[in-house]
C-alpha cells in the first residue's frame, strides 16, 4: 500500500534587477547626499515623500521637486516591548509627517524615554556618517526630539 501524497514542495526562484524608476532614483540619490526630496502634485498640491513620479489620487505626473529639511511631527506611534533583530525593547516606532510633506513616513524615535513620546512631538533625523551613506533610507538612523514646542493639533490632525 503506497501512502497518498499529501504535500509537494516546489521551490521557485527568479532573479530580478529592480528598477526604482526616475522619481525614486532621484529620491534615493538625494538621500545619498543627506537630503530628502519630495514631489508636489500639480493638481492637488500634495507633496509626496517618498516621491513616486505620480499622484496616486489625481493620476498625474509629479514633476516639481521639493527639498524638505527633514524635521517633522509625530502623528502616531507605537512602543514595542518584544525584541526585534537589532532593536532592544522598549523601542518606539512613529509615523512622522515631515514638514512640507503630505504623507507620513515610519521611523524609529530614539534619544528619549519612550514614555515621553507623544502626538505633536517635534523631531529631527539623525543621519549616518557621510562616509557610510548609501542610496537608501537607512541613511536616517532614527529621529530624535528637537526640543521645540509641540505642534498644534490642527497641524497634523488629518494624519493621525
Amino acid at each position: 500500500m503506497t501512502e497518498p501524497v499529501t504535500m509537494v514542495e516546489t521551490p521557485i526562484r527568479l532573479d530580478y534587477s529592480y528598477t526604482p524608476g526616475v522619481a525614486s532614483s532621484r529620491f534615493l540619490r538625494s538621500l545619498e547626499h543627506g537630503q530628502i526630496v519630495g514631489q508636489r502634485c500639480p493638481r492637488c498640491l500634495k507633496v509626496y515623500m517618498p516621491p513616486r513620479g505620480a499622484c496616486s489620487m489625481c493620476g498625474v505626473a509629479t514633476d516639481e521637486e521639493i527639498v524638505l529639511d527633514g524635521k517633522g511631527t509625530v502623528t502616531t506611534f507605537c512602543v514595542t516591548n518584544v525584541p526585534s533583530p537589532g532593536l532592544t525593547p522598549p523601542y518606539v516606532t512613529a509615523w512622522i509627517r515631515l514638514d512640507g510633506a503630505d504623507i507620513t513616513s515610519m521611523f524609529l524615535i530614539q534619544e528619549c524615554d519612550p514614555a515621553e513620546v507623544r502626538l505633536g512631538m517635534r523631531v529631527e533625523p539623525v543621519w549616518v556618517d557621510e562616509s557610510e551613506r548609501q542610496p537608501n533610507l537607512g541613511n536616517i538612523r532614527y529621529y530624535r526630539p528637537t526640543g521645540e514646542p509641540d505642534a498644534p493639533y490642527d497641524d497634523y490632525k488629518d494624519y493621525v
Binding site: 530580478y16 528598477t19 493620476g59
Partner: protein, 310 residues
C-alpha cells in the same frame, strides 16, 4: 450583446528595454494620451481594468501600484486580470452591459527586460506537475512547432530558417478607452464597434491536446461571429502560430497583420490596432485575436466594425 460597445481611443508605447522609468512612469503618459485623445479624464471613466503579471515585477499585488497612473480618488470601480490586457478588455465589455456604466479604461503594461521572461512565464503553468520542471516559454513553443512539422500539414515550416526565434522581450504599455452606444458616438466620429467577442481556454495539460490546431480559437471565433471579415489582426508571440491561427479562423486571402508585442501588452495592442484599422477605413469588418501562453493556451477573438451601430 445587449449594449453596443466600441473602442473609441487607444495609445501605446513599446521599447526593447526601458532604461530608467518604472512601470507606473511608463504607463502614465500612455493612459493620459488615450484619455486625452477623446477629451476625457479618469473622472469620466465608469470602470477601469488592467492586465499585467505580478511575477514580472517580482512582488505581490504589484498591479495595485499601477493604479498610481490612474488616480483612484475618489475611489473607482476597478479590476485586474493576471493576463494580457486583451482579456481585461473582455471583462470591460461585459461590465459595460450594466446600465449606468457607459465608459471603461483598459490598460496593460509589462517591463520584462530586467527579468528572465522565459523562466518567469513557466510560473503560469500547472504549478504541481509542470512549473517545477521550469519549461521555458520558447521551448514549449518549440514543441508546438515540432508537432506542426511532424503533422505533415504545415509544409511551410519545413526546411531551414524555421527555428522558433527567441521569445520577444520588450517593455511597453497600452491603454484603450471603451464606450457604449451614444456615448461612443459623442466621443469620436469613428468608433470601432465590437460586434462579438469571446474567450476560450484549452485543456491546461499540454499533453492532452493537439498542439497543431487551436480548437479554442475556432470556438471563440464561432461565438464571436467572426465570419465575413476583410482583415485580421492576430496576436502571434511565435511566427509558426500564425499558421495555426489562420487555419482556426478560416482566413483565406484577407490581409493579416500579425504582431507579438510585449508580453501582457501585445494582445490588447492588437485589438487597438484592429480598432485603428476599422476606424481608419483599412477594414470594414475585422477580426482581432489575442492569446496567452506559449502554446496558444488561451484565445480571445473579437469582431470589430467601423460605421455606425445598427
Amino acid at each position: 450583446m445587449r449594449r453596443d460597445v466600441a473602442i473609441v481611443s487607444w495609445a501605446s508605447f513599446e521599447t526593447p528595454s526601458e532604461p530608467a522609468r518604472n512601470e507606473v512612469e511608463m504607463l502614465l503618459p500612455v493612459i493620459q494620451e488615450a484619455l486625452g485623445n477623446v477629451g476625457m479624464t479618469q473622472q469620466d471613466i465608469g470602470f477601469t481594468v488592467s492586465g499585467s503579471s505580478d511575477y514580472l515585477q517580482g512582488f505581490p499585488f504589484a498591479f495595485v501600484g499601477a493604479l498610481d497612473a490612474v488616480g483612484a480618488w475618489p475611489p473607482i470601480r476597478e479590476s485586474h486580470v493576471e493576463m494580457d490586457g486583451a482579456f481585461a478588455l473582455y471583462e470591460a465589455v461585459n461590465v459595460l452591459q450594466e446600465e449606468g456604466i457607459d465608459t471603461a479604461l483598459v490598460y496593460a503594461f509589462a517591463r520584462p527586460s530586467r527579468g528572465e521572461l522565459d523562466r518567469t512565464l513557466a510560473l503560469q503553468l500547472d504549478p504541481y506537475a509542470v512549473a517545477p520542471l521550469w519549461p521555458d516559454a520558447r521551448g514549449l513553443a518549440g514543441l508546438q512547432a515540432q508537432a506542426m512539422k511532424d503533422s505533415g500539414r504545415y509544409p511551410q515550416l519545413l526546411g531551414a530558417g524555421h527555428e522558433v526565434p527567441p521569445t520577444v522581450v520588450a517593455d511597453g504599455a497600452v491603454a484603450v478607452v471603451l464606450a457604449v452606444g451614444d456615448r461612443a458616438r459623442e466621443l469620436t466620429k469613428t468608433p470601432a464597434w465590437i460586434r462579438g467577442i469571446d474567450h476560450r481556454i484549452e485543456p491546461p495539460a499540454l499533453g492532452v491536446r493537439d498542439l497543431t490546431t487551436s480548437a479554442s480559437t475556432t470556438a471563440a471565433a464561432a461565438k464571436a461571429g467572426a465570419t465575413g471579415v476583410d482583415a485580421a489582426w492576430l496576436h502571434v508571440p511565435y511566427p509558426h502560430q500564425e499558421l495555426v491561427l489562420r487555419a482556426a479562423l478560416s482566413l483565406v486571402d484577407q490581409p493579416v497583420y500579425s504582431a507579438a508585442g510585449p508580453v501582457m501588452v501585445g494582445g490588447l495592442a492588437q485589438l487597438a490596432a484592429a480598432a485603428a484599422g476599422v476606424a481608419g477605413g483599412k477594414a470594414r469588418r475585422a477580426v482581432a485575436h489575442a492569446t496567452s501562453g506559449p502554446c496558444l493556451q488561451q484565445n480571445l477573438v473579437a469582431v470589430l466594425e467601423g460605421g455606425d451601430a445598427a
